[in-house]
Symmetry: C2
Subunit: 326 residues, 2 copies
């Protein structure tokens, strides 16, 4: 049987959520462990994860290779794969790419909305593409097996990352802009370049990325996936729910502002609605994962294609991506 | 055939030395990667090692488990196992024990001559034994598989570490004080407690630990080992040469003073002889490792006991020590 894998979550991790992952049959999750944190602060976050792993060995463990997906299924647990949504964790030090990979980091975004040392975020006015350091870091990520994730990057930077990377990259959590025009959703040009080079797109259920926001129906969401499968091929697609389960609104403010501004930045929100947007009623947490399977079957996906979308494709991508370049 | 393992070196690592390791048939080395460095600085040292591993994959690679000794022999390379001579690398953060173990740290001294957050060094006037944090850290080191090394610790601290640790510990580089009275050499009480609990002693060739210093003959050195084997059993003994090959004298000053004093501290040296002491003519570097085998055979050790002393015992200890507690 094919595993169930969520290509991105940033929950307020707790035993409750780990139990819901089991209830939802989630075999593996790419979990964001850091945004704006520097290296030492990222290590503190890893230490906090180590405490989760030590306290709940019956529910979760850290995933390092694709074999851990199989181990998770075989032992009724969820494998947690680490990722970073910003390159702050490597500071200005390319040597930290290999160090963080050794500590289990498996995805790293080159930018989070803003310009970084590596590339341009999707909220900047001008996208200048990969920087000098950005090209070096992508090559190093390719070498050690750390996946380039361009979910929050600008168009030109994303295209240059796809072009420069010698291994397929990922957009772990976004939707086609043609379906819902949001700064965070991706153009047809990007999605063709991504999927044409073996890269993966994870469909986001974060309401700002959905047509009609939280009112988007399961059927509409799955219809979007069906049209993307027609256009880009089902094998390049998965789920990256962007689920921020049980997070307080203070966290979305941290995600948006970090330490780069003293002012409020509302990001995809607004002064009227600064907090996390309400989720669709068909996806409030990990326990609802089976609803996606039902929705995909109802829209007409075969059993095999549904399994591929729910995790089989991510499993293949994990297997091809997390080891040293050969 | 049994492997050749050196239980401690702190060389000025270079391609030249890596080639000498091959010439000397050294299959594995416990290499000191850090003394007084904090966590971030230790990570910088790991990054420098990663560059060595990337540049010289035909000569060396990082060792993580005892299987890597076999891999080293099978591929004609030397496995480098990381160690720290002081707990500065974990700062005041017990969570860094697991993080550094993940990065490959396999030995950590609880002290380097001075009082640390964990225990008392062998140069302090009063040894108060394991601190509150010391007891917690030893338990955590036991859990993850990071070996407690008491080479530079005081008598009481060493005995308490042996007693408190639920797994055998090591004194990777020291000699019996009964043979040569030096602050760094170990009492019969310590050596009985160490070896009586499955711990390992690595014999040091650092001249300050030798009778007659650099003038100590190979025969005298091997005679000391023979008497120790009579007293403590050959199975608890190995080599821990403390070789500081190609290091400039500025390094021994750093080892002794770190950042804890603004004055000069001569440690085992003196104002008249502040630098590294001259090595015995039978052990100037890794290429001389075979001289030890010859010396041990000449003093009367059997072929099997010689193999055990030259690395077989360390290999068994590595196998029992580097994994999670069961």
């Amino acid at each position: 049987m094919s595993p169930v894998i969520d290509g991105l979550q940033y929950a307020n991790w707790s035993e409750k959520i780990f139990r819901e992952m089991r209830a939802g049959g989630v075999d593996a999750v790419h979990a964001t462990i850091t945004y704006h944190e520097n290296f030492r602060e990222t290590v503190l976050n890893i230490e906090a994860w180590n405490r989760h792993f030590e306290r709940h060995p019956d529910l979760i463990f850290q995933g390092f290779t694709a074999d851990d997906i199989t181990l998770a299924r075989g032992t009724g647990r969820t494998a947690i794969f680490f990722g970073s949504q910003n390159p702050s964790c490597i500071e200005d030090d390319i040597g930290l790419v290999e160090v963080l990979h050794r500590l289990g980091l498996r995805f790293m975004q080159l930018t989070y909305n803003n310009q970084s040392l590596l590339a341009t975020g999707c909220y900047e006015d001008d996208d200048t593409g990969l920087t000098r350091m950005g090209r070096e870091v992508v090559a190093e990520m390719n070498r050690v097996g750390l996946v380039v994730d361009m979910s929050h990057s600008g168009e030109r930077s994303t295209l240059e990352a796809i072009d420069h990377s010698t291994r397929p990259i990922a957009i772990t959590h976004a939707n086609p802009a043609a379906w819902h025009a949001a700064l965070r959703n991706k153009s047809d040009t990007v999605l063709r370049a991504l999927t044409g080079t073996g890269g993966m797109l994870g469909f986001s259920i974060y309401p700002h990325h959905l047509k009609n926001g939280g009112a988007c129906t399961l059927n509409e969401f799955c219809e979007m996936i069906a049209r993307a499968a027609d256009r880009y091929g089902v094998e390049s697609l998965g789920i990256g729910s962007d689920l921020c389960q049980d997070q307080p609104d203070s966290i979305v403010e941290w995600m948006r502002t970090g330490r780069w501004t003293k002012r409020i930045d509302y990001g995809e929100g607004s002064a009227d609605a600064p907090g996390f947007p309400p989720m669709p009623d068909w996806f409030n947490g990990n326990a609802d994962m089976a609803n996606l399977t039902t929705g995909l079957r109802d829209i007409g996906f075969s059993k095999d294609d549904t399994a591929a979308l729910m995790g089989g494709n991510w499993a293949r991508f994990f297997r091809d991506s997390f080891g040293r370049a050969v």
